[in-house]
């Protein structure tokens, strides 16, 4: 059937997303839990993504988009459609296999933060036949989708709870396996798709499927700031940004650079950070107490506390780190208890108090 070997094409010519500067990360007022969670995901992607839920209009998507401007650049194999790591090319990557040369030349690229819009069709998410080539040349070529673009970066879904079921099904599989498989009429592609899943939304509009919920490592709750001063400050900064985007971003550039250096330093340090045996036991007890199923909760707490320690410049994980991470790492993993209607956060806090009791 194939008249010539098909090769993966980088996503077709697009009108570039308006290259307007994004709101700077460090200019976001408050929302420390969310910001910390995003930084943790940036330091150690294996923590497994961040879900931000809560009040509307509290800057959830602003923070995610701001993160894109903050991340240190990464090295990728030149010409690889999936942006494989130049230092550690994926043996399964079809694009790298085609390039053949190894170790190949590398290029520096900014970490992809890819938006998955609600109305996306499956073919654009997983990748499909390259339309243009098929129609004009009658040639079968694979055009990578959003999952390919998000490889080694972030996949962001705003209003994630409104995402349609058939797209959720696709994500569940890929997010767990780190690999995207497309099989269709002679197209057979298997490519790496390891990304950090970021979601934001308001569960009041529809609950998230528990399986999807479980794919997120951390779950942060954002609330409207209660005092006038903070609210006014939020509006003022937003306003200043809208009026003069470049000036505003230049003003915050030094702060953003500091955060970027913090991420870089933490990444270097994280492998050397130890978690004392006694604390590992505490973590296990904590997860047992809240009834989180399987090892996912435990692993997330361990990894996230290490990343947090690395970010805060500590050499070992301490009790304080666990206290800080417990709620975001576990609040979405609680066993449903119809007889206890207190909030999930307070239930985790109760368990923390008992675990350290």
């Amino acid at each position: 059937m194939l008249d010539r070997p098909f090769r993966a094409q980088p996503a077709k010519a697009v009108v570039a997303p308006a290259a307007r500067p994004q709101f700077p990360f460090s200019a976001i007022v408050g929302q420390d839990e969310m910001k910390t969670a995003l930084l943790i995901a940036a330091v150690d992607p294996s923590v497994g993504g961040v879900l931000a839920i809560g009040d509307r209009g509290t800057g959830k998507s602003t923070a995610v988009r701001a993160l894109a401007g903050l991340l240190p650049a990464q090295k990728a194999v030149a010409g690889c459609a999936y942006g494989c790591d130049a230092g550690r090319p994926d043996p399964c990557c079809p694009s790298c296999a085609q390039l053949g040369v190894r170790p190949g030349p590398s290029v520096s690229r900014s970490v992809p933060v890819v938006d998955l819009p609600l109305g996306a069709t499956e073919d654009r998410v997983v990748g499909a036949l390259d339309l243009e080539k098929a129609l004009t040349l009658g040639e079968k070529a694979f055009e990578p989708g959003l999952l390919a673009r998000a490889n080694r970066g972030f996949l962001y879904i705003d209003e994630v709870n409104l995402l349609e079921d058939h797209l959720v099904d696709l994500l569940l599989d890929v997010a767990a396996s780190g690999e995207n498989v497309v099989e269709r009429e002679g197209l057979s592609i298997r490519h790496p798709a390891r990304f950090v899943l970021i979601g934001s939304g308001n569960p009041e509009e529809g609950e998230l499927r528990p399986q999807l919920l479980d794919r997120f490592g951390l779950c942060v709750e954002v609330r409207t700031p209660a005092d006038v001063k903070t609210r006014v400050e939020v509006v003022k900064r937003r306003d200043a940004f809208e009026r003069d985007r470049d000036g505003f971003c230049a003003y915050w550039a030094t702060e953003d650079a500091k955060v970027r250096r913090r991420i870089e330093r933490a990444r270097k340090r994280i492998d050397a950070i130890a978690t004392p045996e006694s604390l590992l036991e505490t973590i296990a007890r904590l997860c047992l107490a809240v009834g989180s199923d399987g090892l996912r909760g435990e692993l997330t707490v361990m990894r996230a506390t290490r990343a947090l320690a690395a970010l805060s410049g500590a050499m070992v994980v301490t009790e304080a780190h666990i206290r800080q991470i417990a709620a975001p790492a576990l609040r979405h993993r609680l066993r449903r208890n119809p007889l206890d209607d207190s909030g999930s956060t307070s239930r985790v806090e109760r368990a923390v108090a008992e675990a350290f009791g």
Partner: protein
């Protein structure tokens, strides 16, 4: 569409809005006397929206369709820039039409992929009208929200990846009645301005409308209008006192105040502009009635102590004066907002508490769920048309289109080749969405302890709810418990007559087998869930049990049984309301409600109508 052609379609539109220059302009008129009537407020709202579409997002117009709304819409249309697109959003719009995608006909004709722009991209630079905003589902609202937030439509469909500009303002007509589900919050929270048109008379409409040139001038002025910190803090203060959630409303309020100042030709936001922002943005979003001024004083002092010390060179008096200013301005905002507070906020005592967040997820009309055979089409997915699934012909052709060249080349010898080569992989089947039926299950305590006259009221309430359910095509079931056991008086039905008959014949008196009653209700709830329906349980009782599950007497055991039954009911996760019908609210009834995770409503002196309202709000 140009303004000229607009006026051809709606000739009455010219009257008033293109008023002769000799008359007072709208801006001068409104700055002289700030909008006081519902109608002038509404006209001001469309003017502000036309001045700052990105800052305000849109307008939500509550109330029934009518000449007032039509007139408002046509005024709004005249205020848009010349040639600005003005489009209507059809309720059942498909993703392909809304967002865009592969243009099948053009693609097949030209042999290259042709992108068809969707409605949102086509509306760029103009306005989108949503005729029945309360009927759109959260998924559609979410797609709109994505475009509103970024001013850009992220298109990832049918092999196209592009970002198209989509900056538009929204005019959403919200015809939801008092007890109906409002439009999805994901949309309404992005519409800065909210007005209601109830009470507008015919003569009101004669008020002069702003002229397009005034709006254009104000638009040009907008960026030079100053909003000082004091004024912003006053808006923030008012927002907190009104219990407005989120920071976005505050941004909208600031934008509205600025646009108002620009319209009046002011360089600086004044108290009137703040008042207008309070009325159009903050007031309608209030979740609590603000405390009266004198009640607020002490809190206000504390707030001042918390604040930073006055800056150098600024005397304490000055700081105090500034604070007083802010207080005064906040008061102005609150007063303006008070005119438009949501109904029911002021008689808070009689109003039921807001629904608990966990339970509010599915819509009143029944959560939608996927279905293969019935319901409204919501798109397509790959799959074979078997097991009752329906083929989506257009999408199948769309999937097959790109492959035509390849397939023809692969099999060029087929002489009788059909015009389009369709393979099994191309099949797309329709995804349908079906509304779930709602079943309201009443469990009525008909025992002696629940006093017979209360039973009459309960019957009245049930009858009223029945009528409401009938309109919504919901089903109703009735369980009664008295004496030694419970009885399903009425299995789930839509028949109003049958339900009424069953109710009238319901006897009262005897012991209270609460546990049996709850068990019977739980059975009905479980049955409804298994059928795929969405049950709502309403329990009317005083919570005092004296007959155990096995029919034996004994208060202690009966109460324990009842609590256990309530727990089991709660574990089913159905929405539930417990109405305490005893003359004085009872602790045990409250405990019972908690055990079954139901909302507790005490109605010590309720009449049937009030009871029906309380239940309605809980669903």
């Amino acid at each position: 569409m140009s303004r000229r052609s607009a006026s051809v379609l709606a000739p009455h539109l010219q009257m008033g809005c293109e008023s002769e220059t000799a008359g007072p302009t709208f801006a001068r008129q409104s700055s002289a006397n700030p909008p006081t009537t519902v109608w002038t407020g509404a006209v001001a709202a469309v003017a502000l929206l036309a001045i700052d579409p990105p800052g305000l997002g849109g307008l939500r117009v509550r109330g029934a369709a009518g000449p007032a709304r039509d007139r408002l819409l046509s005024i709004f249309r005249t205020l848009l820039p010349d040639g600005a697109p003005f489009r209507k959003l059809p309720l059942g719009v498909s993703d392909g039409r809304l967002l865009g995608g592969l243009d099948l006909a053009a693609t097949l004709a030209s042999g290259r992929s042709v992108l068809e722009r969707g409605l949102l991209a086509e509306t760029d630079g103009g306005a989108l009208v949503i005729p029945s905003a309360e009927r759109i589902d959260a998924g559609l609202a979410g797609r709109l929200a994505g475009a509103i937030d970024n001013g850009v439509l992220a298109l990832q469909r049918d092999g196209f990846a592009s970002h198209l500009p989509a900056r538009f303002s929204i005019f959403a007509c919200d015809e939801a009645l008092q007890d109906e589900q409002p439009p999805p919050a994901v949309l309404t929270e992005r519409l800065g301005l909210v007005i209601s048109l109830s009470g507008v008379g015919r003569h009101d409409l004669e008020v002069a409308a702003p002229r397009p040139d005034e709006i254009a001038a104000a638009r040009a002025q907008l960026s030079s209008v100053a909003l000082d910190d004091e004024a912003l803090a006053a808006l923030g203060q008012a927002a907190i006192e009104l219990g407005v959630v989120g920071v976005r409303p505050l941004m909208f309020a600031a934008a509205a105040a600025r646009a108002s100042a620009a319209l009046a030709g002011r360089k600086k936001v004044s108290a009137e502009d703040l008042a207008l922002a309070g009325r159009l943005v903050l007031g309608p979003r209030a979740t609590q009635a603000p405390a009266r001024a004198q009640d607020r004083e002490p809190e206000h002092d504390a707030d001042q102590e918390e604040g930073p010390p006055p800056a150098d060179g600024q005397s304490h008096d000055e700081a105090a004066e500034q604070d007083g200013n802010r207080r005064e301005m906040a008061e102005t905002v609150l007063q303006a907002a008070a005119a438009v507070l949501p109904r029911g906020l002021l008689d808070a005592a009689g109003a039921p508490p807001p629904m608990s967040k966990a339970r509010s997820a599915p819509g009143r009309a029944g959560a939608a769920h996927g279905s293969k055979q019935r319901g409204r089409p919501i798109g397509s997915r790959p799959g074979a048309p078997d097991n009752g699934a329906r083929l989506d012909l257009i999408d199948t052709l769309r999937a097959a289109a790109p492959w035509q060249g390849i397939r023809r080349r692969a099999a060029p010898t087929v002489a009788t080749s059909p015009r389009v080569l369709v393979r099994r992989e191309d099949f797309r089947i329709k995804r349908l969405k079906e509304k779930r039926r709602t079943v309201t299950i009443f469990a009525v305590d008909a025992s002696g302890s629940a006093a017979l006259h209360r039973l009459a009221e309960a019957k009245g309430a049930v009858e009223l709810l029945l009528a409401q359910s009938y309109i919504r095509r919901d089903e109703v079931a009735l369980v009664a418990f008295r004496g030694s056991g419970a009885e399903i008086v009425l299995p789930p039905t839509r028949s109003l007559a049958r339900a009424r008959r069953a109710l009238t014949g319901l006897p009262g008196g005897g012991g209270t087998p609460l546990a049996s009653g709850l068990d019977a209700a739980a059975a009905l709830v479980g049955h409804a869930c298994r059928r795929g329906d969405q049950p709502t349980l309403v329990v009317l009782t005083d919570g005092a049990a004296n007959v155990a599950r096995d029919g034996a007497g004994g208060r202690k055991r009966a109460q324990d049984d009842a609590t256990a039954a309530a727990r089991a009911l709660g574990a089913l996760g159905a929405r539930a309301v417990l109405i305490d019908v005893s003359p004085r609210p009872q602790e045990r009834a409250r405990d019972l409600a908690e055990a079954m995770s139901a909302r507790y409503v005490a109605l010590p002196s309720a009449d049937a109508a009030q009871m029906a309202r309380a239940i309605g709000a809980g669903r």
